[in-house]
Amino acid sequence: MATKTIAGVTLDITEEGYLTNPAQWNKTIAAELAKEEGIPELTPAHWKVIEFLQQDYREKGALPTIRRINVACVPTKEFYVLFPGGPLKKAAKIAGLPKPASCV
C-alpha cells in the first residue's frame, strides 16, 4: 500500500493512485486529483457525476456501469467530454472510489 500527500493530508492509495480509505476524501482532494488527471477545474457538471458515483457506490457496493450513468446521470458523449480519455476510471479516482476492474 502506498501513500501520498495532497493539501497537507496523507492519503492511503493503491499503486495506481486510487484512495483506499473513503473517509480521507474531501472536495479539496478531489479538485487536486482532478488536476492530476488533466481536468483543471471541477464544474457543477463534474460534481453531478462524482456525487452520483459516490451515492451509487454507497447503495450498491459497486461502481455503476457507463450505461447506467448514461441513463441515470449524464449522456455518455458528455461523460467523455467531462472526463476525457477514460471517463469512468478518471471519475472514480476523483470521487475517491476504487478503480473500475474486471476479474483479471
Binding site: E16, L88, V104
Partner: protein, 411 residues
C-alpha cells in the same frame, strides 16, 4: 402441495433443480422448471468452435436429460413475473403460481444495442462467438480467411465470462501461426476497460503476453457505433479502429421478461443481496447465476458455488431460519493462452487472482496464475465434469464453495 418454480434451465437452473430434488420432501414440494428452449449449450465450449477445436456436437445436449425425473419441465417462454401475486404468466397464456421462485434466466448478447452492428456485414465480416450460430459462422469464415485486420471488441461491461475475449485473441494468434498466416493477420483487442488486465497481480503476470504474441491493445474504448461501410469502430471519445474482420462481444443483457416485469436494472439484471442471493425486493424470490446484478463474475463456476449456498438458504427460508451470508463471490476460471497451455485463476469479491496451488493448497496439482500444460488439460477435462458432475449438482471433490486463502501469495 407447495411449489418451487425455477425460471431457466441453463447452468444455474439445472443445478438448483438437481440440488432441491434431493433435499426437499417430494410429498410436500413440487419443483417446476420453465425454459423457452429445449437445447442446453455448454457455453464455455463456444470459444473453441471458431478454431475447429470443438464441433457443435461437443456443446449441445437436451436440457431435459439433466433434470431429475421428479421435476416437471415446462417448455414455454415467460411473459411476466408477477411477484405481488406470486405468479408467472407464460406467453402461451398459462399461469403458474409459486411459493418460492428462483430466477435463473441468465444473460445473452444484445447486438441491437450497439448502433450499426447489425446494419452491414453481420455474420459476413462481423461475428460474435457467444451464440452457437455466431461461433459456427465464424468457424466457416476463419477456414478461408486469408488475413487482414482482425479486431475483437468488447462493447461494454459487464459481460459473461470476462476472460473469454482475451482467450479468443490468444487462440487466434495460435490458430494463424498454425496456418502459417500469422504475419498476414494484425490482431487488435479493443476494450472499454483501462487495459486487457485491470488487477495488479494479473497485469504483472499476464500483461507481457499481449506484447509477446504481438496483439495490439486499444483500451478505454467505449463503442458508440460501428460503420459497416467503411469498416470502422467509432468510440464516444472520437477514436476510430479499422477492421477487416470484426469479432464483437456486444452488450450483454438479462432476459426481456425481467424488463417486462419491471424487476431489472438498466441491463435487466435483478437486484440481489450479494451474500444470500435473495432478491432485494421480494423475500420469496431468489436469483442465481448471470441473471443477478451481483458484482461477481458472470460464469458457470460462480453459479456452481452459488448453487450450494442457495440450496442451504432455500432450506433455511422454508424452515423460517435466518439466511446464511454464505456467498463470497468465489469464481474459478481457466484462461486458455494458446499452444496447448492455460492459466487458472481463483478469486472472490475481496481477493484478486494471485499465485498459489489448486485445488489443494500447497499441493495443487494445478498452479494458479501460471501458464501450464496441465491447466490446459484441466480446461478440456472440464467439459466432461460439466456434463456429468456439475450440472447434476454432485459435489466436486476438493473444490471448496468458499474461496480458500491457504497457500495463496496474498500481498
Amino acid at each position: 402441495m407447495r411449489k418451487i418454480l425455477i425460471l431457466g434451465a441453463g447452468t444455474g437452473g439445472t443445478m438448483m433443480a438437481n440440488h432441491l430434488a434431493r433435499k426437499l420432501d417430494r410429498k410436500q414440494w413440487k419443483i417446476t422448471v420453465v425454459d423457452e428452449h429445449h437445447t442446453h449449450y455448454y457455453q464455455p465450449g463456444f470459444l473453441f468452435i471458431p478454431f475447429g477445436i470443438y464441433q457443435p456436437e461437443d456443446v449441445i445436449r437436451e436440457k431435459a436429460a439433466f433434470l431429475p425425473e421428479s421435476v416437471e419441465f415446462v417448455q414455454a417462454a415467460v411473459e411476466t413475473i408477477q411477484p405481488a401475486k406470486s405468479q408467472v404468466l407464460l406467453k402461451n397464456g398459462q399461469t403458474l403460481d409459486y411459493h418460492l421462485l428462483i430466477i435463473a434466466t441468465g444473460v445473452k448478447i444484445a447486438p441491437e444495442q450497439i448502433a450499426g452492428l447489425l446494419d452491414g456485414g453481420w455474420r459476413e465480416d462481423i461475428f460474435d462467438f457467444y451464440t452457437i450460430e455466431g461461433a459456427t459462422a465464424l468457424a466457416q469464415k476463419l477456414q478461408n480467411w486469408t488475413g487482414g485486420k482482425l479486431v475483437l471488441h468488447v462493447a461494454e461491461m459487464p459481460i459473461k465470462c470476462p476472460v473469454a475475449p482475451l482467450e479468443f485473441v490468444f487462440l487466434a494468434d495460435a490458430f494463424f501461426h498454425g496456418k502459417n498466416l500469422r504475419d498476414k493477420v494484425e490482431i487488435t483487442y479493443v476494450t472499454p476497460a483501462s487495459g486487457a488486465f485491470t488487477k495488479p497481480q494479473s497485469s504483472a503476470v499476464l500483461g507481457h503476453l499481449l506484447t509477446e504474441k504481438q496483439i495490439k491493445i486499444v483500451p478505454d474504448f467505449y463503442t458508440e457505433r460501428v460503420d459497416g461501410t467503411s469498416k470502422k469502430l467509432i468510440s464516444y471519445g472520437g477514436q476510430e479502429v479499422a477492421y477487416d474482420l470484426l469479432v464483437s462481444i456486444p452488450t450483454n443483457m438479462g432476459d426481456e421478461a425481467i424488463a417486462r416485469s419491471g424487476m431489472g436494472d438498466e441491463l435487466n439484471y435483478v437486484p440481489t443481496y450479494k451474500h444470500t442471493l435473495q432478491s432485494k425486493k421480494y423475500a420469496n424470490i431468489f436469483v442465481i447465476g448471470d441473471a443477478s446484478d451481483l458484482p461477481s463474475s458472470k460464469a458457470g463456476s460462480v453459479a456452481h458455488f452459488q448453487s450450494e449456498i442457495l440450496t442451504d438458504n432455500i432450506l433455511n427460508y422454508i424452515a423460517g431460519k435466518p439466511l446464511e451470508e454464505g456467498f463470497d463471490g468465489h469464481a474459478n476460471c481457466f484462461i486458455e493462452s494458446g499452444f496447448g497451455k492455460a492459466f487458472l485463476i481463483d478469486f472472490n469479491y475481496d481477493v484478486e487472482p494471485v499465485a498459489g496451488r489448486f485445488p489443494f493448497p500447497f499441493i495443487g496439482p494445478m498452479a494458479l496464475l501460471k501458464e501450464t500444460r496441465l491447466n490446459h488439460w484441466g480446461k478440456l477435462a472440464f467439459k466432461f465434469i460439466y456434463w456429468n458432475i456439475l450440472l447434476r449438482g454432485w459435489p466436486m471433490p476438493g473444490i471448496p464453495t468458499r474461496m480458500s486463502k491457504l497457500g495463496k501469495k496474498l500481498t
